[in-house]
């Protein structure tokens, strides 16, 4: 986890720093004079060598200081913090949707392998994986927000303002983000369950006269869940990235939309901050997945 963070942090710095085009020139716009650019560069500390800037930046990061926005001089950490709630709620609810659709679909397909049900479930999974995320979002807006005014088409209300309204804003984005990953989860849980169903202990369970239901639910499913979980972990990490698109489609003021806004403004400290935050969330998800492994599978022990 620490290694991943280190790699990402270094890459983020390299990418955002060693490439031509000075932020100062971009901030000042078309009417700039060379003297203004030099002065602003000094003010922002951009006149120092890249290696020095990297060490300074890394030192600040360790102390929890993400720097200040080039756009409005607000603290990067504070701005990101204020945008965290919708992104976390959106990702979690999408994950719940993806798992609730994906795993039952995979189980059905595996239990009724090579039947119409299997074919149908896998067709749904393929379609889910191929639909462009933002397009699905637009279709949902068109159908459920514009035609039938069941849900708001865009925006967000914070939990602290009106918890009842928050979920109404989240339904469509969460479906958008969740459905695209349900397909992968369905395919993987099908493959994992099929593998487990061929093992000796499943045959033993069947031969001692257990009902098929008990065999699948108690013997096979739990063992298939462990490898499936790692797929869910990957999906969760991808969803954190996917929130960039979904939040833009539904105008949800979360971290993902902040990233797009900052890219369009070339607000590099903010971009660095958001990307590091996303890397941290991804690393956290992986850690949680590893810990859940041990809960599900008593054979796995850490330390």
């Amino acid at each position: 986890m620490v290694a991943t963070m280190l790699v990402v942090a270094t890459l983020v710095f390299i990418v955002t720093n060693l490439i031509p085009g000075s932020p100062a020139a971009l901030i000042l716009g078309e009417d700039r004079t060379p003297e203004q650019v030099v002065e602003l560069n000094r003010e922002l500390g951009l006149d120092r060598p890249a290696a020095v800037r990297f060490l300074l930046w890394a030192g600040q990061l360790i102390r929890g200081d993400f720097g200040r926005s080039l756009f409005n001089d607000r603290s990067v950490a504070q701005v990101i913090y204020s945008r965290l709630e919708p992104t976390i709620l959106l990702t979690l609810s999408s994950a719940v949707i993806a798992v609730l659709i994906g795993i039952p679909l995979g189980i059905l397909a595996a239990v009724y392998q090579r039947t119409v049900l299997d074919l149908g479930a896998m067709a749904v999974a393929l379609v889910g994986a191929a639909i462009p995320n933002f397009w699905l979002g637009l279709l949902l807006i068109l159908a459920f927000a514009l035609r039938f005014k069941m849900f708001p088409s865009a925006g967000y209300t914070s939990l602290s303002d009106d918890p009842g309204a928050t979920w109404r804003y989240l339904v469509l984005p969460a479906i958008t983000l969740g459905v695209s990953h349900a397909g992968v989860i369905a395919r993987m849980s099908r493959a994992n369950l099929l593998e487990v169903l061929q093992t000796d202990y499943v045959r033993t369970a069947r031969s001692k006269g257990l009902r098929e239901r008990v065999v699948v639910n108690k013997h096979a499913f739990r063992n298939a869940l462990v490898p499936t979980l790692s797929v869910v972990g990957i999906a969760l990490a991808l969803m954190i990235g996917g929130s960039v698109i979904t939040e833009s489609v539904f105008a949800v003021p979360g971290v993902g939309r902040l990233l797009i806004e900052s890219v369009l403004r070339r607000d590099f400290p903010m971009i660095q901050g958001v990307i590091l935050l996303i890397a941290m969330l991804v690393a956290l998800v992986n850690l949680l997945v590893d810990l859940t492994y041990a809960l599900l599978d008593p054979r796995i022990r850490y330390g």
């Binding site: 990402v8 955002t16 933002f134 990490a237 797009i260 890219v263």
Partner: protein, 299 residues
């Protein structure tokens, strides 16, 4: 179905005939692959896309950027098959030219990421220390959502066609490097590789002549998926306003320009989305069947 005489004979007695028998086995695997419905669908979609892209100017009387304000927001009809957008541009025409861009982005990203990825994978398999370091980096990058990485790169490079291709190539290099690295490591212990080394073949020669050709199967499989990802990613980036510049006839740009007219003119957003969906579905099907014949270990 299995005719005994077609099974390749192992051992000394077979002599030089083995190679033709092996070829016939390969040919039959290829035929079986072609007979799979998913392959047919995938190949058809890919072929249609190539044709649409190549023949775009000949298939339509309109230009991709021809503005006709009087014909703005027309629904699909005989004049404009898929309708027009807010500037009266023909959607079908823009989509045909968009196919061109999608092919270009997909192909270039596949070429760049494969070239760099294969080189890195071979080097990593050749030099253990470099390989370990490389896999560390790759695990770090691959744990990270690719689209966000592409966004960061584009933020630094500026948005243009070439920079989008560059950023996406960078994002997908690790996927190729990883599969090549893995196959190099397993191939190094194969008897024919050990034999080639025992015969005194230099490491570079063994790597290029004996190992490289056998890593290409998984690379082809990955390339199919990377093509699909690249098409979706380009459309997504363009949709977000950080990919290809506004006004470009790219599927993502058409979609993003159409979203403001979604209620009155849903065809602008509907058709490019369907095109992306069908293309990605076809490529995924193709990748799945290719994986079954080229990379059987994974499936």
């Amino acid at each position: 179905m299995a005719r005994p005489k077609d099974i390749p004979v192992q051992g000394r007695a077979a002599g030089p005939k083995v190679s033709t028998k092996v070829r016939s086995v390969r040919l039959r695997a290829f035929r079986r692959w072609l007979d799979t419905p998913a392959t047919v669908v995938g190949l058809t979609v890919l072929l249609l896309l190539l044709l649409a892209g190549l023949l775009a100017p000949f298939l339509t009387p309109y230009g991709p950027a021809t503005i006709a304000i009087r014909e703005r927001l027309l629904p699909p009809g005989s004049e404009h098959l898929l309708g027009t957008d807010h500037l009266g541009r023909d959607i079908a025409t823009r989509m045909l030219f968009g196919a061109r861009l999608s092919v270009a982005v997909g192909t270039l990203v596949v070429i760049f990421s494969s070239a760099v990825g294969i080189a890195m994978g071979l080097l990593g398999g050749y030099n253990r220390r470099f390989g370990d370091l490389m896999m560390r980096m790759i695990d770090g990058i691959m744990a990270f959502p690719g689209l966000v990485f592409a966004l960061a790169l584009i933020a630094a490079l500026g948005s243009s066609f070439f920079n989008v291709v560059l950023a996406l190539s960078f994002v997908y290099v690790p996927r190729i490097a990883r599969v090549v690295h893995a196959s190099v490591l397993s191939l190094r212990n194969e008897e024919y590789v050990v034999a080639a080394e025992a015969l005194g073949g230099r490491e570079a020669r063994v790597l290029l002549r004996h190992i490289l050709p056998n890593t290409l199967g998984p690379v082809v499989v990955q390339s199919t998926f990377i093509f699909a990802y690249a098409v979706i990613a380009e459309a997504s980036l363009s949709f977000l306003g950080v990919g290809l510049p506004p006004g470009t006839a790219s599927w993502g740009v058409i979609l993003s320009e159409g979203r403001n007219y979604m209620l009155g003119a849903p065809w602008i957003t509907l058709f490019p989305g369907i095109a992306i969906f069908v293309l990605v579905l076809g490529l995924n099907l193709l990748g799945d069947t290719l994986r079954d014949i080229l990379d059987p270990k994974v499936s």
